[in-house]
Symmetry: C2
Subunit: 253 residues, 2 copies
């Protein structure tokens, strides 16, 4: 099997860095990429500063198969993603006639002001991501996929985009957890299981809820189902051997 | 006024990249840094891969005043943050006697196994971040601050750490929003306001709730209160001039 394609997400937005907004896009895209068999290698959250956006795009598009960006494609002065993508790709940023016509028809000629006309400017060679929710100008160019920051619009764009991307082997997951079990008690046994399955990703995740419930979840991830089931059975037995009650799935919130 | 100190967050964890876990630490740290007058320049989410962690630490610690990491400091095989910090700092990763004694007293000698002893290993020269919630080995070394990934523990560590950091001018915020107002209508007026206040960060944030309520929030951020109040008054007037009803604060969820 060839290795799965790789991806990164670049979240463009001062509002995430200032703490105004809790990002919801990373988790949505991460889950969807897992199902598609595309490995999310890195996420960067960067400010609305042109040189930072261009440098980050340039670095990451050379390093992964797919770069997904969110944010900065609206009509206001702080929406500079598209101009930066054009610069990173070395192409002009120009009126995209089809998008111009769609936006003009939507807003009506008298309301199609300069700010809205700016939304019809795309890097030359971009393929728009049409969607049912918004006329916001998402698009793909090369291996860069430019999406809105508003989660509802981003999700509609991703739904359109996903079938056009070549995926890999879907990553599956098996989880067992136990209350009142702690990592220090299981670390040696868990490492021994991990060493038997180098092609899987085995992680242990302690939880500590505000109401005082504590414990640990042991998660096996990978693309080989037989291996995964084998490792999960070993994990279940490890928990039981330590005197705790293994419960299948993820711990309750 | 000297410029505010700068920071980045490095989130270390496959569980964020796989979508298993919705990160909650970025938003917490971002808000707290804003109040302290420390500018969060970038966030990176990276996997539990040693060469990636070392490279990211090495790059970012040269670029910002403070590097905050979350995750990867537990006792299991996938907890490799501390060894990587030691490598990035060029110091040995070794038993920290005081932490060793505290952990041994906590677990009792018979339960203080190899995995738990590993938690007492810190980069040479590290200063532990003691806290009331956990004995997990958070610490500062140079300009790197290493914290747990579990939000409750990370927050307790940050509370201890924050008073030891030199801050800058706190970033304050003024927000107005309106329903059924759209960015394309206000972009020109909003840009004109932004141009009058180059030292402020003015952003417009459309919202689109699942129940259909839509609109836009206009947010002014900065350290100069008089400027901020001036810009906010202009923003309020802009919204009213466009025929919408300006409402102070952030839009309801």
């Amino acid at each position: 099997m060839p290795p799965n394609p790789t991806a990164c997400i670049i979240v463009i937005g001062n509002e995430i860095l200032s703490g105004r907004t809790q990002d919801a896009n990373i988790n949505f895209i991460a889950r969807r990429l897992g199902v598609m068999g595309i490995t999310l290698q890195e996420v960067r959250v960067i400010p609305d500063i042109a040189r930072t956006i261009v440098a980050t795009l340039t670095e990451m598009r050379a390093r992964v198969d797919h770069v997904f960006t969110t944010g900065g494609i609206g009509p206001t002065h702080d929406d500079i993603t598209s101009a930066c993508v054009a610069e990173a790709m070395g192409v002009p940023w120009e009126i995209h006639p089809e998008s111009f016509a769609l936006l003009e028809a939507h807003f009506g000629t008298e309301n199609f002001n300069a700010a809205r006309q700016r939304m019809a400017m795309l890097p030359r060679g971009a393929t728009p991501i049409r969607n049912s929710v918004s006329l916001a100008p998402g698009y793909s160019i090369g291996n860069i996929h430019v999406m809105a920051g508003v989660p509802k619009i981003m999700q509609a764009m991703f739904d359109e985009l996903a079938p056009t991307l070549e995926g890999g082997s879907p990553v599956q997951s098996r989880s067992w957890f136990a209350f009142d079990l702690f990592e220090g008690a299981l670390a040696a046994g868990f490492e021994a299981i991990a060493e038997q399955h180098p092609e899987l990703d085995l992680g242990s995740y302690p939880f500590h809820r505000p109401d005082g419930r504590r414990g640990v979840a042991l998660v096996c991830k990978g693309t080989d189902i037989a291996r995964l089931d084998h490792a999960a059975a070993q994990v279940k037995m490890l928990i039981a051997d330590l005197g705790a009650t293994p419960i299948e799935g993820e711990p309750p919130l």
